[in-house]
């Protein structure tokens, strides 16, 4: 049943510190649900599947905004919307996140939906998540006890579960510098061009080392498992190898072992896996002529 908006309460903090205090104090009674763009929360409220009745509006927390480059690294505030991310000039060095941002829902969703919300919502189909994994992103979180930093890879613990304390907020994500000469690739396979939940979403980074062998490989997948995953066997099949048709074939076989796709109404497992293999093949072909054999 749809949740009546009139029964809900929203707390408006003055700043981040105040927000963290309110959130912490709320644990004694009903936990405040952080509210960013609301594009996930409203869906839950509409379906009547969100139990909470009290919300913490993050909008007043200026500390959660801003896209800043610091010594080659990039810090993106949790409240930054996908539209802002896609348009920001500093994003040029992290093109995969720009591409992912442009794939989230459609223009209206990109105007409201935030990267913090995408992370916290922890859907296996979250489009920005494989990018964060492929870029070795760090996530800064805060509570009344202070700030801490968690690698994105370690943040996800299970289906829609994060290694976050109930009174912690995501403050920002940090993207390390992408090694020079990296080949980068993003692809979302959905059922339609907009407003579509991914069947497969992929972000890949390949860095050529000295002698032509790949020195750094990241192959990250969404919608293939309960959490966003890297295909470690396929990565191993490429790491320290030169681009060749042989390497591509190994990676393809390894991928079949890495990925045990989720079977749901959106797409059957068999199709997801075959689409994933094609996406990987496409990436390899586009990154180096050698893969074409």
């Amino acid at each position: 049943m749809k949740t009546a908006i009139s029964t809900l309460a929203v707390e408006c903090p003055k700043h981040l510190k105040h927000a963290l205090t309110l959130l912490h104090e709320s644990l004694a009674t009903e936990r405040l649900t952080p509210l960013a763009g609301g594009t996930d929360l409203f869906v839950y409220l509409n379906a009547g599947s969100h139990r909470g009745t009290r919300f913490l509006d993050l909008a007043p927390c200026a500390e959660l905004r801003g896209i800043k480059a610091i010594k080659g690294r990039l810090r993106i505030g949790a409240l930054e919307t996908f539209d802002r991310i896609a348009r920001h000039p500093k994003m040029a060095a992290w093109p995969l996140l720009v591409q992912a941002a442009r794939c989230v829902g459609a223009a209206q969703i990109q105007n409201r939906g935030t990267i913090g919300g995408n992370i916290a919502n922890a859907s296996p189909a979250g489009d920005s998540l494989p990018v964060l994994l492929a870029y070795d992103a760090l996530v800064h979180v805060a509570s009344v006890r202070g700030e801490r930093t968690i690698p994105f890879r370690e943040l996800q613990t299970g289906y829609r579960q994060l290694a976050l304390e109930a009174d912690e907020l995501i403050v920002a994500v940090e993207l390390p510098e992408v090694p020079a000469g990296a080949k980068q690739f993003f692809r979302k396979v959905g059922t339609r061009a907009a407003q579509s939940i991914s069947k497969v979403v992929f972000a890949g980074v390949l860095v050529p080392g000295r002698g032509g062998q790949w020195s750094h490989v990241r192959l990250a997948w969404g919608s293939m498992a309960p959490i966003t995953v890297r295909s470690l066997r396929a990565e191993a099949a490429l790491l320290a190898h030169k681009p060749s048709a042989q390497a591509a074939a190994w990676a393809d076989v390894a991928l079949g072992e890495d990925l045990v796709p989720i079977d749901d109404i959106r797409s059957d497992a068999e199709y997801r896996l075959s689409a994933a293999r094609h996406v990987l093949a496409q990436f390899l072909r586009s990154s180096h002529a050698g893969f074409r054999g």
């Binding site: 869906v43 797409s267 689409a275």
Partner: protein, 826 residues
């Protein structure tokens, strides 16, 4: 719906359709329409000033500025809100309903159940098998059981949770096979036997002989996935039963007249004390062409509480209301001679009807009857069976009943062309049935612009340079179709007109058109205004259209079967011409000129022989005429001539005029992922005459878009039992999960209007709202074959299905072979 004469069908007459004893059939005597000098197609004032021009729609500004008043915008004093309790089982007996706790909840005013209005109703009088709220059984997940009225929706929802329903689950039937295999699991007790909703078998000519004598015969099995309309506006109504015992219902319906009748029947009220008003409707596509639970429930709750009651369906409920396109399994055998002449067709069709009949009787006929043009089909047989299943009822969706067989047949034709090594456009041309002719099943064809349609799509698409000539993965395909411009019967037997208009002219220079017709966005109110402007020389701003209010407007049957422009347009043309004649005679007398010289155009009335001397404003002309004849008013009506084949069911599919369409679709497919991108659709449509080219193009593009969505994306599936939900639940009753194409997915649509000028249509117009959808699906399927060498015989053509086809067959080899046939530069 028989023609009254016990004539023998050319095939086996279908069983069923017995006429209840208390109903009399119409005599077939038809009213004679007025005959106008120069005919109905001619402009009244020498040349057209309004018709054929790119005019605005009369309600357009209100819609784009958010001022149009839809049913949900209505708020009446003391109004209550109501909600329906819906079944969580696909099939179950209702053992008991206890609403006492719900009634006790503060803010709740009333609860009604099926027992409060048990009378069966149904849009087709021969298959009245629905109840406003179920009394003893639920037949699909979402079937309505009870309704609660309260101060607000929120309280309604709380109250619904308190209604205790005790169910006894029954085995559920969710597909055609199970429905046929288990007649003992009867879904709908009104079925004659088992789960058979309707069976029709008709044969015209010697089909077996024709097929045996063919050079090529192709046999194919096709699957048409059902789809739903998804109008932007969910169903909504407000009902008010006043202290005098008079019921007014505002509803987002496309058939105010039928709703009027059924409300009176189910609520046991005299029809003259019921008024139905259709506010602005936000799309229907056939999904609002019969009464629904909400209208009865709101009305009953208003009668019980003495207060106005509103019900607004959620999007999820719109999926349960459904009445969408029937899933169909189709088996076709089609023959052709070596030089490309179609010899015969044998069709076996099964329709998955869902839980109720809806329009199903007609759908079952349409699944065969509407295939007999634009090609001459010398011999034809179809055997169609509609079954009941425990799913939301299927009904009419844009292109009612004939989109599915058209898909199968046009794919058959493409396969035959491939076999015979002939160009599919050329073959379609060779089989052209012609103008002023009759189809094999006895349908009269008047105008026919199909050849021009083929020419247009061939030319505009660059067909000759593309077909079988593009690289692997890219392809182009063609398909054709026909559709009705209204049917020649009201769906309940009577001898009265199908459409009517009352027109009044005011001495201020204003005209008011009143008609029961239903504008659901297709623009019929604008059509009426254009006609009045054309005939009387008025500006569009000086005509008001009052439509679909059963107290104020004469009966029109509503917006279905693409009838409005043709039928109510004709009624309006007659009404306007009667008054034009009066005005012309008045002026001719005063000026001493011939009445034929009088021109009413651009706000001026003048004599064409000497406009310098004899000219006044149209407003003055109205005043002169009023002084001479008394108050100015007129009526016009439309009744179709006697049409159809001389056999039982021979009138179903008979229409006063048929529209014709050809599509060429161009696709780009990714053989690695199975993804099909439709790049272009060229749509050529013979609409007789485009009264407003913009709205015709809108209909053509909208139709092609809708067909494209059904071809590639839309799925209508029901889940198996699993934790958290019941068996038979719709897979995704939301606009996020039910995947219709977005604007980004949509191909370039090229609308090419063809005007054959029909002798009987208003100014020669025929339909444009449904016909242009039909060829979308087969044109895309045929294009995919040209691109990849696989035959998509089952909808939707989504990536997993295309991948399966690519893996299963020798796609590439088939592609090479087809290419070799028509290959080489021309």
């Amino acid at each position: 719906m028989s023609d009254g004469k016990p004539t023998q069908a050319p095939g086996t007459p279908p069983a069923g359709m017995a006429i209840p004893g208390n109903r009399t059939m119409p005599k077939e005597d038809r009213l004679t329409p007025p005959v106008w000098e120069g005919g109905r197609a001619a402009p009244p004032n020498g040349d057209f000033r309004m018709i054929g021009k790119r005019n605005r729609k009369v309600e357009g500004l209100a819609k784009v500025t958010g001022r149009a008043v839809y049913a949900d915008d209505l708020v009446l004093p003391r109004m209550l809100h109501a909600k329906l309790l819906r079944s969580i089982h696909a099939h179950a007996r209702i053992v008991s309903i206890d609403a006492s706790a719900a009634l006790a909840l503060p803010g709740v005013h009333a609860v009604v159940t099926g027992a409060d209005m048990p009378t069966h109703f149904g849009i087709i009088p021969w298959t009245e098998d629905e109840q406003a709220l179920c009394t003893d059984k639920v037949r699909y997940v979402g079937d309505a059981i009870a309704a609660v009225a309260a101060d607000d929706e929120r309280t309604c929802e709380e109250a619904l949770k308190l209604v205790r329903v005790e169910y006894e689950p029954l085995p559920a039937v969710t597909d055609i096979e199970t429905a046929l295999a288990h007649p003992e699991w009867q879904v709908n007790e009104k079925a004659g036997e088992g789960n058979i909703s309707k069976h029709v078998r008709l044969e015209f000519g010697d089909v077996d002989g024709a097929l045996a004598a063919s050079d090529h015969v192709v046999e194919g099995d096709y699957w048409y996935e059902g789809s739903t309309h998804a109008p932007l506006e969910p169903h909504c109504c407000v009902a008010e039963f006043d202290s005098t015992g008079f019921l007014t219902v505002w509803s987002s319906t496309q058939v105010a007249h039928y709703l009027h009748r059924d409300l009176a029947k189910v609520l046991n009220l005299p029809t003259q004390r019921v008024r139905v008003i259709q506010p602005v409707v936000g799309g229907g596509f056939g999904g609002k062409s019969e009464p629904f639970s909400l209208e009865f429930a709101a009305a009953k709750l208003s009668m019980v509480t003495g207060r106005p009651v509103k019900i607004l369906y959620t999007r999820e409920e719109v999926f349960y209301a459904h009445r969408g396109r029937h899933p169909m399994r189709l088996r076709y055998r089609t023959g052709m001679t070596a030089d490309g002449a179609i010899t015969g067709t044998d069709a076996l069709v099964q329709l998955d009807g869902g839980a109720y009949s809806s329009f199903g009787l007609v759908t079952t006929y349409y699944s065969g009857q509407l295939l007999t043009a634009p090609y001459a089909l010398p011999a034809y047989r179809f055997d169609s069976t509609r079954v009941f299943t425990n799913k939301p009822a299927c009904g009419p969706k844009r292109g009612h009943g004939s989109v599915q067989p058209r898909f199968a047949f046009e794919c058959q034709l493409d396969k035959l062309c491939e076999k015979a090594g002939l160009d599919p456009i050329e073959v379609r041309r060779r089989n052209f049935i012609g103008e002023r002719t009759k189809t094999v099943n006895g349908m009269r064809v008047t105008s026919n612009g199909f050849l021009e349609c083929l020419d247009a799509v061939e030319r505009e698409s660059g067909w000759a340079a593309k077909f079988r000539r593009m690289p692997y993965g890219r392809g182009i395909g063609v398909a054709g179709s026909m559709y009705i411009s209204g049917t020649n019967y009201c769906i309940y037997p009577n001898e009265m007109p199908q459409s009517a208009v009352q027109l009044r002219l005011d001495r201020s220079g204003r005209a008011t058109v009143m008609s029961g017709c239903s504008d659901i966005g297709q623009g019929v109110e604008s059509v009426l205004a254009y006609i009045v402007c054309e005939e009387l020389g008025l500006d569009l701003r000086d005509v008001r259209v009052v439509a679909a209010d059963t107290d104020l407007t004469p009966v029109d049957l509503g917006a279905y079967s693409s009838r409005e422009t043709f039928m109510v347009g004709n009624a309006c043309l007659d009404a306007a011409r009667h008054l034009r004649l009066k005005i012309a005679q008045t002026l001719a007398e005063r000026w001493g000129v011939a009445a034929g010289e009088i021109v009413l155009a651009n706000g001026v009335a003048c004599a064409s022989s000497d406009p310098g001397r004899f000219a006044i404003s149209v407003k003055e002309a109205f005043q002169w005429a009023e002084a001479r004849h008394g108050t100015l008013g007129s009526v016009g009506w439309y009744q179709s001539p006697k049409l159809g084949g001389e056999y039982r069911g021979g009138t179903i599919g008979a229409s006063p005029a048929y529209s014709f369409t050809a599509h060429v679709a161009e696709v780009e497919c990714d053989p690695e992922t199975g993804f099909v991108a439709v790049k272009h659709i060229w749509v050529a449509h013979d609409c007789g005459r485009a009264l407003n080219p913009v709205t015709v193009e809108g209909q053509m593009e909208g139709s092609a878009y809708m067909g494209f969505g059904e071809a590639l994306l839309e799925t209508q599936r029901y889940k198996d039992a699993a934790p958290g939900h019941a068996f038979g639940l719709h897979h995704g009753p939301s606009l996020l999960d039910y995947r219709m194409p977005t604007s980004l997915d949509t191909p370039e649509l090229h609308a090419l209007i063809v005007e054959s000028v029909d002798p009987e249509g208003p100014y020669g117009a025929k339909e444009a709202g449904e016909g242009p959808l039909h060829p979308s699906i087969p044109a895309i399927a045929n294009a995919i074959h040209d691109a990849l060498g696989v035959r998509c015989d089952a909808l939707p053509f989504d990536p997993p299905s295309v991948m399966r086809l690519l893996r299963a067959g020798e796609a590439r080899a088939n592609w090479e072979r087809a290419r070799a046939q028509v290959g080489g530069p021309r």
